[in-house]
């Protein structure tokens, strides 16, 4: 798994590539958590190159979203594969996120295009 961070018009974009599962979730957590507490009120998680998210991976995303929302921020997901989207819907995780087809749409939604 690879994690790249960038900023665009004041929004932080995290691109996750590979699988987010039990093997990689700790590493991802270590990299993502510090970003949640540095006044990043708008955080886009780009998952277009993420092929698989396990149960533990989905829980990391949910935890991040909740942590961000307690600080008044919002976690946006972009580029989800149809299968991951479907799994999130069936397991009730979709309720907690705003999802977009790509980063540009996510940024547009928060006025940072």
């Amino acid at each position: 798994m690879e994690i790249k961070t960038s900023t665009q018009n004041g929004a932080t974009i995290i691109e996750l590539s590979g699988s987010l599962d039990g093997n990689t979730v700790n590493e991802a957590q270590e990299k993502i958590l510090p970003l949640l507490s540095a006044n990043n009120f708008s955080l886009v998680l780009d998952l277009k190159s993420c092929g698989y998210i396990s149960s533990a991976g989905l829980r990391l995303l949910l935890m991040a979203a909740k942590q961000l929302s307690t600080q008044g921020g919002v976690l946006l997901l972009s580029g989800l594969s149809a299968e991951i989207k479907d799994v999130m819907e069936m397991t009730g995780f979709d309720n907690f996120f705003k999802t977009f087809d790509n980063v540009a749409q996510a940024l547009k939604a928060i006025g940072k295009e």
Binding site: D86, V87, M90
Partner: protein
């Protein structure tokens, strides 16, 4: 916060994992900071090893013996640190005595599933053939228990207000006609929530969803060649895990989340969830069966054994769970508490519940500790407890199941008496009067009330409603047992032709009989239960025991909904009528007196003559009035309801009991009338010109409602009286 007791003290032999003594409670595998706490008990094991697997792999990547200092009493417990528990499966090796006569069957070569496993792999996708060479077939997994319920809470719908809809997770949406995205799964049901709401039911009762093996005793059908499966699933592998093959996400190990999401969404829509639970036996069968878990961990504790060490078979399935052994009793309690606390389940229906009242030698007990424990348990305090009050060992306790005021029963007598009356058997009026009132003959004792009676005409076990009016006898040849399986006391009547018919008269009568049945069910006091699919005349082509039919015989054919819209509408309006009128939903039994000064007792009996029912054996006509002023014991003011039932093959006039001057009868339903005129939306009942008598058609039910006359009319009548 730093805890000193999370510090590893040992390292396993391979050096890869750090360990320490665990906590004995809770049993099973629990995620703790940095690791997983494993805890398993065995009264007789001399040693135990933990086997760790990567998901699906045939061989463990590590086997860790529980050190002597990791045993507390009869519990082996240890924390293993640094595990990737997302990709983990685990089992136990147990060593101990093997002596069949003593009931000891330890085999240290077997890998055993944790009895407290919260998720179980090995049958991740329904029907996908397993690797039979794999020595560990049903594989314990770690389950996340941090589901976000979003303020959900068990519904706690008053039991008298429930309308239960019994269904099978796979059968409900597996048929291609269901049109759902993930047929045959928890998600499939979720897609049908709007349908359930339209029908109006407020509770679904799911046939077993605990992990079972659909391949248990699988074989080709001698008549159809199709594979026969353990489709119903009344054979538990594990008690704490939802069936992975019922989840579209089972292949990702997310069945618990998918199941919980379904429950949360049903609750959001006002629909409760009752689980059909099977604590009478396990999937290990008798001495010829496999070692899955219990047999190899603590055979003598888990099973009822004969004096020479063989398995008692009160379940008809090879073994009998030793329910009143204190250890097994605790496991059952832990299990039910878990489903209530972690899955927000609203109630349980206990399969062959009489077994739960047998002692350790198999004898029925007067006050079975397990049933008492469940009745008084604080975590189960608001959930429904429903017993199938009989077992396969000959115990039949309908009306006398030990209840402590908490247990309801599947009322088998309701089903049988109503069916007999429906087919025109003479001499049924006395029994019918009891059944319509919530069976006070069975449940008035100890003040159990009408809600102790779960009323049903059909259930998964037996004919569907359509088949009940289409077949005189069962047709189970496809099950491969020479039609010897399944019940013979069906009290069914085929309306003149055995099986599917093209005769419009036969088919018209069948529709009417189905309407008669559901009309009587929904005006009966007690809690009604409807079999899924009956509302669209689903057929199993005469199979009354489709436990093994994972095919069109069992799957609900949704195309029937359009074909039988008339019947669906009748069901829907009957359900709406029941939900609207509290007079149909008493908690207690009637007092048979007028304690509200309304001029009518709470229930009064009539017939072709008002106030004068003919109770003779030859009579097939009965009518009754439920007085609206007495609704729910006089606490609610409702309309009065008059029901006339004519099961004779001739039309009869029924004299109507006279209402007070300011009221009149109006027509809600008449099963003899043509479609469109047979039933009305509640609140839109139609006027009745003749307030003296109603001609009730042959084999028909009529439901009238008492309502206030329009004010002008009352005034003008009062004037004319002056």
């Amino acid at each position: 916060m730093f805890r000193v007791d999370l510090h590893p003290t040992h390292v396993c032999d391979c050096g890869k994992f750090r360990l320490r003594v665990g906590k004995p409670l809770p049993f099973g595998a629990s995620i703790v900071p940095g690791g997983v706490n494993f805890s398993v008990y065995s009264s007789f094991a001399t040693s135990c090893k933990l086997a760790l697997f990567n998901k699906h792999e045939p061989k463990p990547f590590c086997v860790i013996p529980f050190k002597d200092e990791f045993r507390i009493g009869n519990v082996f417990t240890m924390v293993v640190f640094d595990l990737d528990y997302d990709n983990l499966e685990y089992g136990f090796y147990m060593d101990g005595p093997f002596n069949e006569r003593e009931g000891q069957r330890f085999d240290k070569t077997k890998i055993l599933m944790d009895p407290y496993a919260k998720a179980i792999g090995g049958r991740d996708v329904w029907g996908q053939a397993p690797d039979w060479d794999n020595i560990y077939q049903h594989r314990a997994r770690i389950c996340f228990d941090d589901f976000d319920w979003e303020n959900d809470h068990p519904q706690e719908t008053p039991v008298e207000d429930l309308i239960i809809y019994e269904t099978h997770v796979r059968g409900f949406t597996k048929h291609p006609s269901s049109g759902v995205k993930h047929p045959g799964t928890f998600s499939g049901i979720r897609e049908k929530i709007e349908y359930l709401k339209e029908l109006g039911v407020n509770c679904v009762e799911l046939m077993p969803i605990h992990e079972f093996d659909e391949f248990e005793n699988s074989r080709p059908s001698p008549t159809t060649g199709k594979m026969l499966m353990n489709y119903w699933g009344y054979s538990n592998v594990g008690f704490f895990a939802p069936k992975a093959g019922y989840a579209a996400t089972g292949k990702f190990g997310m069945q618990a989340d998918e199941c919980k999401t379904l429950i949360r969404e049903l609750h959001k829509n006002g629909i409760e969830v009752i689980l059909d639970v099977v604590f009478n036996h396990t999937a290990e069968g008798d001495q010829r069966g496999p070692y899955i878990s219990y047999r190899g961990i603590d055979n003598k504790t888990y099973y009822l054994l004969t004096p020479d060490g063989y398995y008692y078979n009160f379940s008809g399935c090879g073994n009998t769970l030793n329910c009143n052994n204190p250890i097994v009793r605790n496991m059952i309690l832990d299990c039910l508490r878990y489903w209530v606390a972690d899955y927000h389940i609203d109630g349980f229906r206990f399969d062959l519940a009489s077994i739960l009242g047998r002692d350790m030698n198999g004898a029925p007990m007067h006050s079975p500790p397990l049933l008492e424990t469940l009745a008084f348990d604080p975590i189960l305090g608001k959930c429904k407890l429903i017993a199938e009050a009989w077992d396969a060992g000959g115990l039949y306790q309908v009306g006398c199941f030990p209840a402590w005021g908490r247990w309801a029963e599947w009322n088998g007598k309701y089903r049988d008496d109503l069916r007999k009356f429906l087919k025109g058997e003479p001499g049924m009026l006395g029994a019918m009067a009891q059944r319509l009132q919530g069976s006070p003959d069975l449940y008035a004792r100890e003040g159990r009330g009408a809600t102790a009676s779960v009323n049903f005409i059909t259930a998964h076990d037996g004919f569907t409603l359509k088949d009940m009016v289409s077949y005189n006898g069962k047709h189970n040849e496809a099950n491969g047992e020479n039609n010897s399986d399944g019940g013979n006391d069906n009290y069914s009547w085929n309306c003149g032709w055995e099986g599917e018919s093209t005769d419009p008269e036969v088919n018209r009568l069948r529709v009417k009989q189905m309407k008669n049945a559901v009309a009587m069910l929904l005006v009966s006091q007690g809690t009604p239960m409807i079999l899924s699919g009956d509302e669209m005349a689903n057929t199993q082509w005469g199979n009354n025991n489709a436990y093994c039919q994972d095919n069109e015989i069992s799957w609900l054919d949704w195309s029937l909904l359009e074909k039988n819209r008339e019947l669906f509408n009748f069901f829907r309006k009957m359900i709406a009528f029941r939900r609207k009128h509290a007079v149909l939903r008493s908690r207690g039994h009637f007092q048979n007196r007028d304690y509200m000064g309304s001029g009518f007792a709470d229930i009064t009996w009539h017939g072709q003559k008002a106030w004068n029912a003919d109770w003779s054996d030859e009579s097939l006509c009965l009518a009754f009035v439920l007085c609206g002023r007495h609704a729910k014991g006089g606490t609610v003011d409702d309309n009065s309801v008059y029901v006339a039932m004519n099961m004779d093959w001739l039309m009869h006039g029924f004299q109507l009991p006279k209402l007070p001057d300011y009221m009149e009868w109006c027509v809600f339903a008449n099963t003899d009338a043509a479609a469109g005129q047979d039933i009305w939306e509640p609140g839109q009942e139609v006027n009745l010109d003749n307030q003296e008598e109603f001609l009730v058609g042959a084999r028909s039910v009529v439901i009238l409602m008492g309502r206030d006359k329009p004010k002008n009319e009352v005034k003008s009548k009062k004037k004319s009286l002056k």
